[in-house]
C-alpha cells in the first residue's frame, strides 16, 4: 500500500536547479557500469567480480560483452574480496562489486588484510550505498562504510557526486596501483557544474561555487543538496562556498583548512552516520590546525534510522536544500553572535 516515494527535491529545489541550469543525469551506478565496460574492452586486465550482484550493479551488459572478464562468486562477500585480492595479485584489475552495506562490513577483514595490507590494486565498489535501499531497512543501509574503512591504512575512499565525477573516479581507480573503494548510489543524479576546472584527482576537492559567509563540504550524492542550498541562501544574501569532497580519504586538507579560514562557518554533509565519516575527519583537521569556526556535521544521527524511502530519510534528517540551508542560517547567526 505504499504511496509513490516523494522526490528528495522539493518544487523549490527543482526551481533552484533550473536557475543553475542543471540537468538530470543517470544513476552514478549506471555511469560506473558503462565506464568500467568501456575500459575493460580495451584492457583485458580489468575484471568485474560480483556476488550475485551483477543485476544491482548494472553489470549484466559487462557479463554479456566480456564473459571472460567477469567472475561470479555467489552470495559470499568475504569470498568476493578474497578472490579479488588473488586476481589483483596476479596482474588483474578487479572491480569487486557488492552492495556497500555488505562489502564494507561482512568482508571488512578481507578488505583490511587481503587487499590493503597485502597492497594489491583491487577496486572495491560499494553499490546502492548510504540509504539507497531506504525502505529495506538498516540491514541494507551503509552508514558505517566510511567509518570502518577510514581506519584501514592504504585505501583511497571516494564517493563521486555525479555522473562526470563517477566516470573520472572509475578511470582513476582503473589506473591506480593501490587499493580503492568507490561508493555509488542508485538514484538518478543531477549533473553538477564543471566547477573550478582541472582534472579529477583523488584527494582534491572540486569547488562547485564560492562564497565567504559559509562553506559546505559535501561528499557523494549529498553534494547536489549542498549546491542547491547555496543557491537558495544566495537569495537571502548568504554567500556559500560549496566543495564536492569526493574523496573522503585521503582528505583534501588544504580545501578543508581554506574553508575554515576563509568562511564564517563550515557545514559538512554526508549520507553516512555522523560518526566516523567526512564530518569528523574535517573537524579533526580544523581543530588540530587551530582553526576555530562555527562547525556542524549533517548526516544520519546515531539513532535507529527512520523508516521510509531514501527521499523520506533524507527529508527526515534534513539532507535537503531546505534542511541544509536552515543549518547554515543557524551556524552563520551563531558565528555573528560570537
Amino acid at each position: 500500500m505504499s504511496a509513490p516515494a516523494p522526490s528528495m527535491f522539493s518544487a523549490a529545489a527543482r526551481a533552484a536547479a533550473d536557475r543553475l541550469g542543471l540537468t538530470m543525469g543517470r544513476a552514478n551506478l549506471e555511469a560506473f557500469a558503462d565506464t568500467v565496460l568501456e575500459l575493460a574492452r580495451d584492457d583485458r586486465r580489468i575484471m568485474a567480480v560480483t556476488s550475485d550482484s551483477r543485476g544491482s550493479g548494472k553489470l549484466g551488459p559487462f557479463g554479456q560483452a566480456l564473459p571472460d572478464q567477469i567472475v561470479e562468486v555467489g552470495i559470499a562477500e568475504q569470498n568476493l574480496v578474497g578472490i579479488a585480492a588473488g586476481l589483483a595479485a596476479c596482474g588483474k584489475k578487479p572491480f569487486a562489486t557488492s552492495p556497500a552495506c555488505f562489502l564494507a562490513a561482512r568482508a571488512l577483514e578481507q578488505v583490511k588484510n587481503d587487499v590493503c595490507y597485502s597492497d594489491v590494486p583491487a577496486v572495491l565498489v560499494g553499490i546502492s550505498a548510504g540509504v539507497s535501499y531506504g525502505a529495506l531497512g538498516s540491514t541494507h543501509h551503509s552508514l558505517h562504510d566510511f567509518a570502518a574503512l577510514r581506519a584501514i591504512h592504504n585505501l583511497t575512499i571516494a564517493a563521486p557526486a555525479d555522473n562526470a565525477e563517477t566516470r573520472a573516479a572509475v578511470r582513476a581507480a582503473a589506473a591506480a596501483s593501490k587499493p580503492v573503494y568507490l561508493r555509488f548510489g542508485k538514484a538518478a543524479m543531477f549533473d553538477l557544474p564543471a566547477g573550478d576546472g582541472g582534472p579529477f584527482v583523488f584527494g582534491r576537492a572540486r569547488r562547485l561555487r564560492d562564497g565567504r559567509d559559509a562553506a559546505i563540504l559535501a561528499t557523494g550524492e549529498t553534494a547536489i543538496h549542498a549546491l542547491l542550498a547555496a543557491e537558495h541562501l544566495a537569495e537571502q544574501g548568504i554567500a556559500c562556498r560549496v566543495e564536492s569532497v569526493h574523496t573522503v580519504k585521503p582528505l583534501d586538507v588544504e580545501a578543508v583548512l581554506a574553508a575554515g579560514r576563509d568562511c564564517g562557518a563550515v557545514l559538512t554533509v554526508e549520507e553516512h552516520s555522523v560518526h566516523g565519516g567526512l564530518g569528523e575527519a574535517c573537524a579533526a583537521v580544523l581543530l588540530q590546525a587551530g582553526v576555530h569556526v562555527p562547525f556542524a556535521i549533517a548526516g544520519l544521527p546515531d539513532a535507529d534510522t527512520v523508516t521510509g524511502s531514501q527521499s523520506d530519510i533524507f527529508r527526515h534528517y534534513g539532507i535537503t536544500m531546505e534542511g541544509l540551508a536552515d543549518r547554515i542560517v543557524t551556524l552563520v547567526s551563531h558565528g555573528r553572535q560570537r
Binding site: Q78, N79, G82, A84, G86, L87, A89, C90, N113, S118
Partner: protein, 277 residues
Amino acid sequence: MTDRDLARKSIEYRRDTVRAIMRAGAGHTGGSLSCIDILNILYNRVLRITPANWSDPVRDRYVQSKGHSVEALYVVLADRGFFPKESLDTLCHYRSPFIGHPTRKVPGIEMNTGGLGHGLPICVGMAIAAKRDGHDVRVVTLLGDGELAEGSNWEAAMAAAHHRLDNLTAIVDHNALQITGPTRDVCNNEPLDAKFAAFGWDVRRVNGHDLAALERVLTHRGPAGVPVCVIADTVKGRGVSFMENVLKWHHGVPSAEEFSRAEAEFERQLAAWEAAP
C-alpha cells in the same frame, strides 16, 4: 637432490625452525613442525617458485593460509635462496620484515596472511587469473585444520569447484590440535574428506610426514576441472619427542635448555640418517 638428501632437509629445517623460535622468543613451534615435510616437498619437488622466476607472472603460487607457522616457511625459503639464513636472526625484532606472520616484504612470500580463512579465497582468485590468462600455473595453499571453522573456506571451496579450478590444490595440515585443544573437541569438523568431496573436490589422504607419499600425491594431477584437496595427517610438534601432540607447544617457545634437548634429538636423527643406506 636425491630422495635421501631430501630426508636430511626435513631434519635440518626442523632444527633451524626451533632454533629461530628460541632465539626470537616467539613463534608457533608445534604447527611449524607439523608442516615442515609438506613445505619440503612443495619447495624442493613440486612448486616452480625460485628466486630466479620470482618476478615471472607464469610462476606457481603458494599462499600459506595458516600464517602463524611462518617460521617453517622462512627456513625453507632461506634454504631455497630467497634470502640469507642470517636474516632469521632478526625474527620478530624491531623493524625486521621477518615478523610472526607472512608479509610480502619478505622475498618469496606471495600474500600477507595471518587472519585465518583467508588463503583459500585468495588462491581461488589466483587460480582463476591463471585460467583466464591460459597460464600453466599451479596454485597451492596450506590450511590448518582448526581454521576450517572459518566459513570463508567453505565459500571458497564451493567457488573453486564451480569454476572448475583443477590448477588449485588445498593442503590441510591435519595435526588435529588447535590452541584450545583437540579440534574435534573445540568444534568438530570431521569428516573432512567427505566435506571437501561433497563440495566437489578430488580428495586425497596422505601421511603428512611420508615424503615419498607426499610427493606422489602432490605431483599427481587430478581429474579435469576438479580442484584437489590433500588431507595430510600430521603430528603437531613432529620431530621433538617432548613437543609432539603437546598443546602448550602451539605457541610455546623453547628455553635454551629445552632447545639443547631438542637439538640433541635432531643430532641423533641426523646420525641415524648418516647410518642409513
